[in-house]
Symmetry: C2
Subunit: 646 residues, 2 copies
């Protein structure tokens, strides 16, 4: 019997790495659409036309039809790279998202600094609020037949000297079985809060891998996380990735704007929670730990990021009089936010100072010696997407914020990127104009990160290839200047030597962008010092944190006017102090109190309402500055070389 | 073109009332299966053979094929009643489950007793831990630009005199918008805990219906609930229903047994949570209140019921040395248990004394004047499925428990039922042997509840129709004695006059069952008094709580030997004291402390290990007792009537 042939819609499974997320889609779907369906961030700034090359993926397994494209060299195509917007699904595929390769934890340098007790204001001792105690409960009898909780409480108070503990619900549900299965030898995991201890979990006394914490810095561009063994305070593993909110806007203001549409606030919350959960998954899978064994999270981040993490309306942050919902918050629970940890795990957020100076800064100050001495005054600069400046000492602290933009983290820079494998992180130029660079992991270069950008602009300037406005000069080597629809650009590496087989360049637009960013930061530093009647020379130490990859060349940062022209030994690049500060709070409860004191004692200056700021900013839109007297070492360099750029 | 005819499976929607739960099933499904699919409790003790008549439902809307059945009269069939196991679905149907008609709140009588301050040990004043305060926040300015939380905290502390409040997560998510939408006029709802106030919610200051609580007694058979307006403490509505766990076993021990199989503990938890949630839904829908506005729950129940509510392993309760997980628990959150209230609503459970004397008893004692006077000694009897006895006064309290069984709540009694519309709650017999009865709501009778059973056995005994063992005597009127597969039975009402068109009878087995139940309770009372060296005459007041419907006839309860033969004015039927005690705890925080003191001060006697109990019990398996000297008024009655039953 004849039956009408029905079009049977076949579906295929796309496994997206490194997230290990599977998405089922009908045959013929574009990989870009599949990624969207799986809520996986895959940008396509050309809107899926196949021209921008943003959505490049690598197909690790499965068959597909390779398509040549202007945005993709044949060499890459032969290695399995494909444009997600141009590739149809006709098989089960395993797809790698190269944008999400592991970021280099930017505290590698910093952490060496941090781990010396004399270098920081925080305490390095392992004395956390989340603790454990081994208890031995005698078996109950008809004479001693108190409830399990009562008998555990009795031994707990005996062992710790504490009184009147509280219990979480999930602890309650496990206590009867655990005590009996282990013949009374158990590990009680508790929060040693000053008001009342809270017993949060119970485990066999013999268990290793019982209780862990995470410290996490939520940056506007990058999210970085430590997995910490709370029994000794050791950092077990680290991970970081782009903040997936980035598809909703690159800076704070554009995220706040995005949040104004219905449903968008929850979407932003979901994206940051997803980002964090994937970092958690990655570290605990490697360490072989169940989610349930993470009992504490210490977050730091700017005020907007923490508001978005909690799905709090951020609109009032950007509107005069710039009032956030909170500066200091109590401990929440992981389940409040949907974090994949023990559902009743405590969540701490570093206290913020105001709408534009967040917990990343109070945590960061913990990682400097600023509070150790009243005689030495320091300047702290966190040059992330938002730039924050703190000046002060043991007796006083003053702070302000400026909108630096995401340039140093690769945002808006043609070949800019955050620091991952393939990133150019150091650049030098020989006298002949040859370029020498250092690539993370030693692979073929893909682009450059913040520290590479600082090097590059400094070298272009010192060699006389760009003028004080950042425009290319006649003296720039002709063979390196190229022009296309993005305007003039300087060639750093030819396509044939790069990973993507595309030229790595820096455009005049990029340089202008970076000058605005460094100008905003320097202007904020100048202004805050003037406010307290100090000059740069009065600063005894200068701490630089933020999105510069692993190596910031201080000399070059001075040459471009990002940092003031002080004795070089006063500078300290501290890396991701926000993350390390969050770790310090996890490690030792006293650091939490210290962070609260920092947040309470800081005076905030609102630059938005400070007319002098615009003058300072305008003066800073030069290399290194309109006022060359501020940069005597740069002037001297040009004097020595008879260069006409002073 | 020919296409093969495909059998299109039609589905229909069955709406089950009074739960308002819809279930979609394919055509031809039996209603009983649809009920199972919807997790609706509908018993069928014959296994769906159409013989027991347990699964009778009433079809309110939709067409179906009426089937005659031995278990269902034509009269009922004509009124839309049908056996769920015999009726196939071939239309969208609305089906009423008659077993779940609203139970009569059994505290109707009791609450009159409770509402007199001199009658209870608890405090009737409205002074709860859940409170509200109206605040007016001035608009922020550049000079006063503290965070929303800080500004609210400032006004809160000013208004209440409290310091350092904590905040819940959900409060945080609402504060910015609410404060701005209401121009700063807001209602802060907070827990006035002695350690630290916790602000749990925020509402416009103008809102009525802002914050509510529930008080709930979780009985083994019946669950009863008050919805309480926490702004004044008024009981807004009441509801009760069968505990849906009943399908997993009628008494505590059978539930604990049931819980031993994998997954069953969670099933039991889900069933009780479902029962409570449906009672919540019912009351708040009527009152027009969203779930989110219920911020507090005060539960009382026996130790097993509270363990099952929390999905705590109950096995150790029944095993020597009878150790429960807890007696006193901290406040949990509604979301811990899946209760449909504000997710962060606080859940309090009355403290228990041990495995067999639970929070229903500590709450119950609050509703008696036992703690008011050291000179007057009282006896408190809670005759639910589990029987608990307390004896004592202001200076001391002693307690024990016995397994009474669910007979007085209708369990295991052929025509027994809990008190709903159609229940015979009072029975009297004239000298000629005519039966007069009182039916709740005045409809045709369906069966009888505990108070009706007490009346009936007393009347049968006093009229000489049953002997002291509860067996029918020759003198019983022949026309009322019937025999079937259940053995001999006494006819109370003929089928033609009853709701179900089936004879309402009491069988010899029923009577034996009730004698065991009353015997267990009386034996426990005797034993506990002997333990403290008291006789019944030393008891100044006797309080009876529990599952007897609205009217317990004390005279009849003495005649059958359920209660001791004391001056009648010493007896007080207090109804559902567990529920009212839970309400008192909701109403006034001091009552919570009082309940804790009661639980701490009570001495528990374990009858399971007391050999003398069996002797007492054996002596109590007669009407009224083997020792007639204990019941002089009953002896005198028979002396007066020359009856030979003394």
């Amino acid at each position: 019997m004849l039956t009408p042939e029905k079009k049977q819609e076949k579906t295929y499974k796309i496994l997206f790495m490194p997230f290990n997320v599977s998405v089922d889609v009908p045959a013929g779907t574009k990989i870009l659409e599949a990624a969207k369906k799986g809520n996986l961030p895959l940008k396509a700034s050309c809107g899926g036309q196949g021209t921008c090359g943003d959505c490049v993926v690598q197909i690790l397994d499965g068959s597909y039809t390779a398509k040549s494209s202007a945005a993709l060299s044949n060499h890459l195509i032969s290695e399995g790279y494909a444009l997600a917007c141009q590739t149809e699904v006709n098989d089960n595929l395993t797809v790698q998202l190269p944008q999400f390769e592991e970021l280099m934890i930017k505290s590698d340098v910093g952490s060496k600094f941090f781990t010396q007790e004399e270098n920081i204001s925080g305490i390095l001792k392992h004395d956390p609020v989340l603790r454990s105690v081994t208890l031995t409960l005698p078996a109950p009898t008809l004479e001693d037949n108190y409830s399990d909780i009562k008998r555990l409480e009795r031994e707990f108070c005996k062992a710790t000297g504490k009184t009147n503990p509280r219990f979480t619900y999930s602890f309650m549900t496990k206590v009867a079985e655990t005590v009996r299965d282990e013949d009374g030898r158990v590990l009680a995991i508790y929060l040693d809060l000053p008001s009342q201890p809270i017993i949060v979990d119970i485990a066999p006394a013999s268990t290793k891998k019982s209780f862990y914490g995470i410290a996490c810095d939520i940056g506007t561009t990058t999210v970085s996380l430590y997995l910490v063994d709370m029994s000794g305070g050791r950092i077990v593993d680290t991970a970081s990735s782009l903040n997936q909110q980035i598809k909703c806007g690159e800076d704070i203001i554009s995220r706040i704007n995005y949040a104004q549409k219905p449903g968008h606030l929850n979407e932003l919350r979901d994206l940051i929670v997803l980002t964090i959960n994937r970092l958690i998954d990655k570290t605990i899978q490697k360490a072989g730990i169940p989610h349930e064994n993470i009992h504490y999270a210490s977050f730091s981040g700017n005020t907007t990021m923490i508001h978005l993490l909690m799905a709090l309306e951020p609109d009032y942050i950007r509107e005069e009089p710039y009032v956030p919902t909170f500066n200091r918050v109590p401990l929440f629970q992981a389940r409040d936010l949907g974090l994949r940890m023990h559902p009743e795990a405590s969540v701490h957020c570093s206290p913020s100072v105001g709408s534009y100076v967040g917990g990343d800064i109070t945590a960061g100050i913990l990682c400097t010696p600023m509070l150790k001495d009243a005689k030495r005054t320091s300047l702290f600069i966190d040059a992330g997407t938002n730039g924050e400046i703190v000046v002060g000492n043991k007796d006083w602290l003053m702070t302000c914020a400026c909108s630096a933009g995401p340039a140093f983290e690769g945002g808006g820079i043609k070949c800019g990127m955050t620091a991952t494998a393939g990133t150019i992180e150091k650049i030098a130029m020989t006298a002949k104009g040859d370029i020498i660079y250092n690539v993370i992991n030693g692979v073929k270069p893909k682009g450059f990160c913040g520290s590479g950008m600082v090097d590059l602009i400094a070298e272009l300037y010192v060699h006389g290839y760009i003028d004080r406005h950042g425009k290319f000069r006649e003296s720039a080597p002709k063979e390196r200047i190229c022009r296309n629809e993005n305007g003039p650009a300087f060639l750093i590496e030819e396509a044939k030597n790069t990973f993507w087989r595309k030229d790595i360049v820096i455009t005049e637009r990029d340089i202008a962008n970076l000058i605005r960013t460094k100008g905003a930061i320097f202007a904020a530093c100048s202004l805050i010092l003037k406010n307290v009647g100090l000059r740069f020379e009065d600063i005894d130490a200068l701490f630089i944190a933020g999105g510069f990859g692993r190596y910031l060349n201080i000399e070059n940062a001075i040459r471009i006017g990002l940092l003031p022209d002080l004795d070089r030994d006063r500078f300290h690049y501290v890396g991701n102090s926000s993350l390390f500060g969050a770790y310090l709070i996890l490690l030792c409860e006293k650091n939490k109190e210290l962070a609260d004191e920092i947040s309470d004692s800081m005076t905030y200056i609102e630059l938005n309402t400070e007319p002098a700021y615009m003058n300072e900013f305008t003066g800073s839109l030069f290399l290194p500055h309109t006022d060359m007297d501020l940069f005597p070492s740069v002037r001297k360099l040009f004097d020595d070389t008879n260069n006409d750029l002073k």
